[in-house]
Symmetry: C2
Subunit: 144 residues, 2 copies
């Protein structure tokens, strides 16, 4: 989660919403890391999780990341939760909860739907305070 927080800080330094993600393989090795890049890449789908999943799938030459875990600093939105399921991520670990946009414990709760056909193990909380602090500072500095 520390690496994911580093990616969130890099995103912030580029003027992006500070969210970062890391994917590890079955042996715990980091195989992909990414920060949010929706503005830089002019791509509304360029959330940290999607970019990390794309990079890992390219690396493994397989659109299914069987046995891989994903760490992300913020609760995934509905788009990312569905992509995590499609990628067959084994375990999702996220930091801060996202009441406004979250899709795991909020909104449509994708993993609890009958339209979800692979549910990762979900752990929430690690790094939540640091992640929420980054987001608070970012939005507060944008308002002022």
């Amino acid at each position: 989660m520390q690496l994911a927080l580093d990616e969130a800080r890099r995103a912030r330094d580029l003027g992006e919403v500070p969210v970062g993600a890391v994917i590890t393989d079955g042996e715990g090795r980091v195989i992909a890391r990414a920060g949010n890049r929706t503005i830089a890449e002019r791509d509304p789908s360029a959330h940290a999780e999607i970019l990390a999943i794309r990079a890992a799938a390219r690396l493994l030459d397989n659109e299914r990341l069987v046995g891989c875990d994903l760490y992300v600093t913020l609760e995934p939105c509905a788009m990312c939760a569905a992509a995590i399921s499609f990628a067959r991520i084994a375990r999702l670990c996220f930091g801060a909860a996202d009441e406004k946009m979250g899709g795991v414990d909020h909104g449509g709760r994708f993993f609890s739907q009958p339209t979800c056909h692979h549910r990762p193990e979900v752990v929430s909380g690690p790094g939540a305070e640091a992640s929420a602090g980054l987001l608070r500072e970012f939005f507060s500095s944008r308002r002022s």
Copy 2:
């Protein structure tokens, strides 16, 4: 929708699940078209809608496709519904309903959630029969 069906057929010819999407701008001009490419691109997020949104955003040099409409042969999944909302698509027109994976009229019904902050106008049904036929044939030929 005929162009979206053409994209679905091209996807099928490549061994991909036959789904196609087209985006038009405020004047009704086609600015992006794409078919499903999850296998070819080794990318679980490479659904037709996401690829069309990425292409249109690159073309307009803006991650928000204000005033644009999206046509897709199948009900978008949760991932694509959320991306359509993030891209600020004005109007979504989809063909066949998707009871198994759909995220508009099924599952988490993304556009009806408080975590959805832009809801496109939604029209369903045009091209539904041709779209469902393509999907039926595809899955039936894969089983045999």
